[in-house]
Amino acid sequence: MKKYTCVIIDDEPLARSLVVEYLLAFSNIEVMQECSDGFEGVKAIAQHNPDMIFLDVQMPKINGFEMLELIENPPAVIFTTAFDAYAMKAFEANALDYLLKPFSKERFHKAIEKMMNQLGSSQDRPAYDALVESANEQEEMLTRLVVKHHQAVVVLPLMDIQYLEAYGDYIKIHTANQVYLKKKTMNYFEQHLNAKDFIRVHRSYIIPAKEIQKIDPPDFVILRSGMKVPISKTGYAKLKGVLGM
């Protein structure tokens, strides 16, 4: 029988032991590690490269979706969550499965079978970009950014952002002492940041209103950090609207 490895990520110890207990019935699935938050989860996944993870959504500091965003090539995911079915509906199409707590042994077995079929049938792992994307769509406005820096996970308050810059498939997030990269689009940030506080002044730039020092019309805005950011025609119009000029 084919062997599988897994990692369990949940902040509640009893919830983890329940998954471990249910997994006893499957001699071909080995639990590599149990993690109590997303940071540990990121490390454990990098270390063990498991076939599948059991992932809780509400966890300290960074939630399950934010953790998934940080992983380059995520394994198959089974969400284990007390979130109501409605909130999870959005992911149904893309997630391998989700188990609503408290779940029965039978329901758990079904999820495992589904997972084994999926993993066995194709070499490709499920399309997690689509999963993360659907998480983005239903998500409310951003209140912070979770980024990876070297091997560490950093939670960035929106306050710290000096400006955002498009950079190929990535976005450069500029702060006072650091530049972080995140695989996202400009449109994503434009839609998920409050338009009153963050203004898309250019196809490739979003700036926080509080960082504006001076406007040098019609082509530039000068930030408090001294950075000169180009602005487009529509960007200038937006800027005028937000600042009430």
Binding site: P13, L14, S17, L18, E21, D37, K61, A82, K101
Partner: protein, 324 residues
């Protein structure tokens, strides 16, 4: 009516004719009054439309005078003296009619208006108290489904490995739920009782989160019998736990402290660790604190009973309950 007869006789009219004249005048007037009463009963014009009432009263007065004079002219067509008096008195009769009709209309309208105002006020008061009741009820019922489902999941886990503890947790959860769900005829309970319920909640959360969650209750024994609205502390502690556990890593200590201020106030503070750098995300207070603020306002009509303090890594909520 008698005055009407007396006046006519004084003017040299035959007393018999004077009686009929008076009778017709007042019969018509009574009829008009009745029409006014019926009309206003079914259609009470607003203050803005009062102008129309005046027009209406004027038309009625004209109509009345016309009918009365014509009737009298017809009945006593042969009495020349009376006829001349009649035509001379048309203006006077009209003035008399308009005065009476206007007075009756005004009295009737005012009466209706006042009745309406009163029932309006009653209804408003009633709906206000009803809304307040419903809102208070809802605010009390803010039980997080998240808490419930995660607790049930913990029980499910314990049932396999440690059945005795599972049983204990079921009992604690049930007792806690019973307390939350009870329909409150009694709004206020003693601090002692509230803390007992709170402890059930804390025990359940500690089973869920294991060693991560610690709690300290500092109780001034003099306060035990002081009163506070039922289920005020639990949402605040729930908030503190959620904040503490999801905003930080590692161990979380929730401190609940009570003080009585000269027996006039019961002050309770609840603190939890938090991370000031990522705190901005929570836009300040959170639903738990807002709903308690609202409840205390509805109960005590005071908006300053809940205070929030942030010191370094400590988030503190303080509530003051007046004792009467």
């Amino acid at each position: 009516m008698l005055m009407h007869i007396y006046l006519l006789v004084d003017f040299g009219v035959d007393p018999k004719i004077a009686v009929v004249d008076s009778f017709i005048t007042h019969f018509i007037f009574a009829l008009t009054s009745f029409i006014i009463y019926i009309t206003l009963k079914y259609y009470q014009p607003s203050k803005e439309n009062f102008f129309y009432i005046r027009i209406w009263a004027l038309l009625l007065a004209i109509g009345n005078t016309f009918v009365i004079v014509n009737a009298l002219q017809y009945i006593y067509a042969s009495e020349a003296d009376y006829q001349s008096l009649l035509s001379k008195s048309i203006a006077l009769r009209f003035c008399y009619q308009i005065l009476m009709v206007a007075t009756i209309t005004l009295i009737q309208w005012l009466g209706n208006y006042m009745l309406e105002q009163q029932s309006d006020g009653d209804r408003k008061q009633q709906s206000e108290s009803f809304t307040k009741e419903a809102e208070l009820y809802n605010l009390r019922q803010q039980l997080q489904p998240h808490f419930l489902f995660n607790s049930l999941n913990s029980i499910s886990s314990l049932a396999g490995s440690r059945p005795e503890e599972a049983r204990k947790m079921i009992q604690q959860l049930s007792e806690f739920l019973r307390h939350t769900l009870r329909k409150d005829e009694k709004q206020l309970i003693t601090l002692e009782e509230e803390l007992y319920q709170l402890n059930l909640y804390l025990e359940i959360e500690k089973v869920r989160f294991g060693n991560r969650l610690k709690s300290v209750v500092i109780l001034d024994e003099n306060c035990e019998k002081l009163l506070l609205p039922v289920l005020v502390l639990q949402p605040l502690v729930e908030n503190a736990i959620k904040f503490g556990l999801y905003d930080t890593l590692g161990e979380v200590e929730i401190v609940i402290q009570s003080k009585c201020m000269d027996g006039k106030w019961l002050q309770i503070s609840i603190s939890n660790p938090f991370d000031p750098s990522t705190h901005a995300q929570n836009t300040g207070t959170g639903f738990g604190i807002d709903s308690i603020k609202r409840r205390l306002y509805l109960l005590y009509a005071n908006n300053d009973l809940v205070q929030i303090e942030m010191k370094e890594n400590l988030f503190l909520v303080r509530i003051n309950i007046p004792q009467t």
